[in-house]
Symmetry: C2
Subunit: 431 residues, 2 copies
């Protein structure tokens, strides 16, 4: 029998603020950070030797990463001594056990530090399960039966929009063509877009140069941060549009900067630049505002989700017509299971999913979910792209491979969240 | 000059689960806890002696209180060395500084552990300010001008429902009669209702006995926990209704137990017992579900708010018609300032506010907000009540005085969140 024998949580911070990488209208100086979890198992031979380890993390942008690490540690501690096979055989049950621990749940409920900690633990267990299965996570998930997949999802609070039976139907329909799509994915990868050119702190020259490089690298869409100053946004969009030409899509991202009326006016004032979507126009909690903004800026789509706290928020954004692009995030919600619920909701509503990534390790993690979605849930990559930012990939054991404007499917077993030990040591904060 | 010279944060837990006090359909075994903050100042003479201290806390129900305490500590640390007069003169500015710290904000944003930590810090500063003013918090707030009050509120994300100008108008209208209402409040207090009889873990005999005691004690409303089992709920409601007679109101509280359809069916199946309101029928994040349930159970009002993460959630509940009773909580949102925003929103929409309390110290804290609302915001106590639960008041320096079914107005300077040092020592967890 294999058991969880230890957990280790590290507060890792990269000093990204010195370069203004990641700077936007709400986040002028992020230090990309991770509350990083390692879960150690004894090997299955019960010899006392260390077996496989599973890795998960929560992405933050600096101050407070110690608090997030403390939450991950407090929650992961309860895994120690548990039977690994039992845990991995019922990850739906584990999810419910962690999310519905009533005392812990009070700290959210199902949002913020406490909920993201659940995500790190759940994701580390998925990493373990994928490694034991000898498959990358996307492939493991795509190998499960529709029944096994819905067992991973908790339908509480979802049934007015999506029932278990409806989810099963979506997955059953998608069984046809799984093998073909997996082959296509392995051959072609999954489309990417890039935010690398568009950080608010970059000079006009750097914006222009990086925009041209993005086209040369094969990306069909770039994204610019906006919302600081309208005249600046117009100037920067003109530079970017001139640099990429008329056929490359340009999305914009306000990082929650506006109220409803301002959002509508501002976005419409930028419409001449042919905007692919407006991302996070206002508070991520404001479903009704997203719906009002969607009406006010149509046909420009509204994109949101990287700060949506849980599946209930995504459900409402879809019900209210507040999001025409669903942006899942690998570490904001309670892990793989909750993201599967969100993928199913998006499929039910026929809305495309274009994950949020960047930060540290978010590309490595979230690509598995889009690839699983393509093979086994929505069955399509049409108009879908995973965000790519070319930062910090060198710290990961299985870094993303983005070529020709596409994420190439990971081949190594696991969920993609494991960092090099040397990186962990070097960037341990205060350590 | 007086400075913040030290902060102290304690993880305090009361073993309430042993008595099933506080047990409900989602929280079977809470251990009422507080992540408790003391902020020490040097005296104004700059002699190095210790001056006044301010106290705030976050209420939790056990596991994770250490994480919450860590968050309060991390945030409060930055106050050390700051000039007390400057801080207290601009608590609106302090609120924005803490809430919009971009790195910290990522941990929410504006929700959960990180946001509640802001609340503890802000509330401790209000405690200091009230003590320096020599007034209980409610009276201090009610002595501010309309302009001073709106300066405390951040209107970002609110302007589609409430602008600064509209808030100012509400407060200006309420200036007439402030003195008279303050005198009435000091003479009569503020109405209370009691949840003491209705915990799910109590026996039928205890329910009956406590219901009768509630009537004898002068309460006009009691509340029962429901949502475990419909037959049990019907039996318990019959016992309670028989015990209190037809003229006492009975509210019910499902503590987020249901989905939409189940909520509507369940509540309508209990309608014959003349239900005063249904509280927390479903996920506190689900604005649209609350609106649907409100339509489905009308004319029974829907009450919610104790787990609503911030002012944006309250705004939407009001916009969507999802709450006919707004239940503010003293420690769930970012302190006094954010609760003032919520009181103003409720006044704008003409919806009554009946605070959530109980737990540990929530009655002591939240009464100030309702009393301020009566004197200076809504100007009315009609159909409004503060929740009362008769637990753990003995640990507070200025415990609530509830007589004749009413909270008697606090007279001691401060915000009511200070505990006896002996209690802090005795219930320090693991200490």
């Amino acid at each position: 029998m294999s058991k969880i024998v230890a957990i280790d949580v590290t507060d890792i911070r990269f000093p990204t603020s010195t370069q203004l990488d990641g700077s936007d209208a709400m986040n002028p100086d992020p230090d990309y950070s991770a509350a990083y979890l390692r879960v150690d198992t004894s090997d299955t031979g019960d010899t006392g030797d260390t077996g496989e380890s599973g890795y998960g993390f929560v992405f933050t942008i600096g101050r407070g990463n110690d608090v997030q690490a403390g939450a991950v540690r407090a929650l992961a501690d309860r895994l120690i001594g548990r039977d690994v096979d039992e845990l991995l055989a019922d990850l739906g049950g584990v999810w419910r056990e962690l999310v519905y621990d009533s005392q812990w749940r009070w700290l959210g409920p199902e949002k913020g530090v406490a909920h993201m900690a659940v995500g790190a633990v759940v994701n580390a267990l998925w990493d373990l399960r994928a490694k034991r299965a000898g498959m990358p996570l996307w492939q493991l998930l795509a190998s499960l039966s529709p029944e096994e997949i819905v067992d991973l999802v908790d339908f509480r609070y979802l049934t007015d929009a999506l029932t278990r039976a409806e989810a099963l139907e979506i997955l059953t329909v998608a069984q046809a063509g799984r093998a073909e799509r997996e082959a296509t994915l392995l051959a072609e990868g999954y489309p990417a877009y890039t935010t690398t050119p568009g950080w608010l702190g970059y000079s006009d020259e750097k914006l222009e140069r990086l925009s041209k490089e993005a086209v040369a690298d094969g990306f069909a869409q770039i994204k610019l941060k906006v919302g600081g100053d309208l005249a600046d946004d117009r100037r920067r969009l003109r530079i970017a549009r001139d640099a990429v030409g008329p056929d490359i899509r340009i999305a914009i991202d306000a990082n929650q900067r506006w109220d409803v009326a301002e959002a509508i006016d501002w976005v419409n004032a930028l419409a001449e630049f042919d905007i692919a979507w407006i991302e996070e126009p206002t508070s991520p909690d404001d479903v009704l505002a997203h719906a009002a903004i969607s009406r006010g800026v149509a046909p420009i789509p509204v994109a949101t989700g990287e700060h949506a706290a849980n599946r209930v928020m995504f459900k409402q954004l879809l019900q209210a017509g507040g999001a025409q692009v669903v942006q899942i995030d690998a570490t904001r919600v309670a892990g793989v299971n909750e993201n599967i619920a969100i993928l199913l909701l998006a499929a039910k509503f026929g809305v495309r999913v274009c994950p949020h990534a960047g930060g540290v390790g978010l590309c490595e993690a979230v690509q598995h979910l889009s690839m699983f979605d393509y093979v086994a849930v929505s069955g399509t990559r049409e108009d879908r792209m995973i965000e790519f930012v070319d930062h910090l990939h060198e710290h990961f054991v299985d870094p993303v491979r983005v070529t020709g404007g596409a994420f190439q499917a990971p081949r190594l077993p696991g969920a993609g969240m494991q960092m090099h030990e040397a990186s962990v040591r070097e960037y341990t904060w205060g350590g």
